[in-house]
Symmetry: C2
Subunit: 440 residues, 2 copies
Amino acid sequence: MFISKLFFPVLRDVSADAKLKSHQLMLKSGMIRQSTAGIYSWLPLGLKILKKITKIVCEEQDKIGAQEMLMPTIQSADIWKESGRYNDYGEEMLRIKDRQGRELLYGPTNEELITEIFRDNVKSYKSLPLILYHVQWKFRDEIRPRFGVMRCREFLMKDAYSFDLTKEDAIKSYNKMFLAYLRTFHRLELKALPLKASSGPIGGDSSHEFIILTDSGESQVYLDKALLDINIEKYDDSETSINAMVADYSKFYSATDEKYSKDEFESKVKKSDQVVTKGIEVGHIFYFGDKYSKPLKANILGKDGKNINSQMGSYGIGVSRLVAAVIEAKYNNNIMKWPLAIAPFEVAIIPLNNKSDPKSLDKGKKIYNELKANGIDVILDDTEESPASKFKNFELIGVPFQIIIGSKSVDDQFEFKELNGITENLSVSEIIIKIKKLKG
Amino acid sequence: MFISKLFFPVLRDVSADAKLKSHQLMLKSGMIRQSTAGIYSWLPLGLKILKKITKIVCEEQDKIGAQEMLMPTIQSADIWKESGRYNDYGEEMLRIKDRQGRELLYGPTNEELITEIFRDNVKSYKSLPLILYHVQWKFRDEIRPRFGVMRCREFLMKDAYSFDLTKEDAIKSYNKMFLAYLRTFHRLELKALPLKASSGPIGGDSSHEFIILTDSGESQVYLDKALLDINIEKYDDSETSINAMVADYSKFYSATDEKYSKDEFESKVKKSDQVVTKGIEVGHIFYFGDKYSKPLKANILGKDGKNINSQMGSYGIGVSRLVAAVIEAKYNNNIMKWPLAIAPFEVAIIPLNNKSDPKSLDKGKKIYNELKANGIDVILDDTEESPASKFKNFELIGVPFQIIIGSKSVDDQFEFKELNGITENLSVSEIIIKIKKLKG
């Protein structure tokens, strides 16, 4: 992409309502625009990041054998009446009547709909275990939407649902998802902690929230600092390894506000290991047995020939919220540097003086084509703006690496700069090797 | 993917309501399930095809310089009041009130919202031309939803919007999109004809529908058969070539029902060249000048320093409908064969007698891994079902190529069968070369 072609409306000032740095940056860099309270359009830069995050989320779901499908945004109220949640859900549910007067709603979550699909299409224990997921827009009619896409009304969620024959099997699915979640956040270069949580309106017996620790978070969290040192890369996909992982995380105290007990915290965690901080919830997983399969009569034939209700769990990741969460975690020194895996572009080529030295733009285009041919996602600054203004734009966009074509470029060596990092003089082929290696 | 793991609920019988073969096949093969009138869930098989089609649609948009973004599904009624369409749109618009009593709606199309984004973010002619697009779910509250995803209420649409300084430039954008559409349908192996059409509720001065000719279509179409012989591959991206293409298509008579004039048809087309048939509308493009930019006051600074309204066009493709349209066009001899570019899997490996000959499954797995390693999207039938039942399933799924491991496999030669085509004996490496070549 040439930056002159990119629809990238920069705002120098944003409204005072935008309090979080993620909200400010997303507006300033032209990633999003609000269309009405709590409802946003994603402009090209924002969408590109959102799609890269979505891809990683999906890949980690696929790896544990979850299958992608897609449920609609609009649901019938009937199934919510069957589960008993239609009245319980309250005003956050966007209720709709169609032209025939039928009661519909914009799905805030999908336990009912997936259970209905399971009920109508799965008849025997032989089809289990089954994990289905989708990435779809949800709507929750927040009374006071705020913080940009962090607490908005229309938001993108990955929600997965597991179906198992026994509680024991269901816990295995739960633990697999636990691993998938930690790996997902790890790939986003986020330190996400699984904390025991209350189940809220989803209900159920067991539940963990995944929290990114940052001062700007809304959730209060209490934990043993040993949790921060667990290295997720050491666990593999075997049942033994997954069990070890859950055991390691369970060994140490962690809780959100709702589950927090002062006495327990004090007695279980040494004073010097106590961490009390804030965080952003980016994922939530639940095991809830037959809470939905029973009222919705999602029976299957068990091994003994008798009908039983399957054991279910559900697993959410706030995909659109993650974009803001990454900014909260990574924005530093007034500069945004996106993790390479989800950066809107991997490398920026910046000829400093296009106006006075037209050859530098030609050089830039040549490097651009070489990087492209090597599968590198690259943006070229082909404008005649001043060097200062160019750097300012790229500090907003947050491309992690820059190739600067200026007075310091000698022959085929260029300044190769890592945002918030060091600058080296490298040839184009050295740069390509380096980027490819970093991409893994 | 191993077929035993695929969530793929086959239906042997479907309801009598499913009249179109696409609707029947999508239900039978477990591609979709209706959740409520005109609202569907896409199961893994259906979603995979939908995503592959979406990818092709997006690639052709990107090639002409259109930029992807994403507008929300829920819009404020306010902008529709500004454009004057809020009352005009009628009962097909799903109108919603939120908890604060604010009037919202589920977007049936996005001219208003994109014009608002343009108004707020583009100030000068220097930012033009600009083409933005998104692929997003839309809702039209059809009075009688039918034909599965062909005429449903919640559907996936790619809609693009162009902004230009002059009418002349706007026609250039229109013509580029004309080419992108023909290329898109060509890659889906569909013969789509651009027909002059009336503009309907979008409004405007110029409009073409893109129609797939098939007897099961809802639209009546009239055309000169010379149109069927135009080869889209001969045009390149240059302005000259694009103009030649539009001229070629305009030379011959074509019209939908609304634009049809008997006198004109009879006088312009020789009796022997007259084609009167039915078709499925899969795309629609409009040039409508300042129809939205004027009431919404989307002014930009012109070259002479004066404010002017930009010249706009809009361009839709029914992405979810395309899945059904491909089936209508390709279903033959009771067998579905997906075009390779959008097939749910490119190759199926079918060991015929897993039960009596366990080694055949091992062989199948070995081939599976080889194909995977070569980037081929492959499915392995690891069930113990009878050969007849296996073939029946694959005739539903529509994988275009099969590797059959049975009595006719000698040494390292396997039966390699094209659905509805010939069977050869080939080695795995010959098969890999063949598939790669076909994928281009």
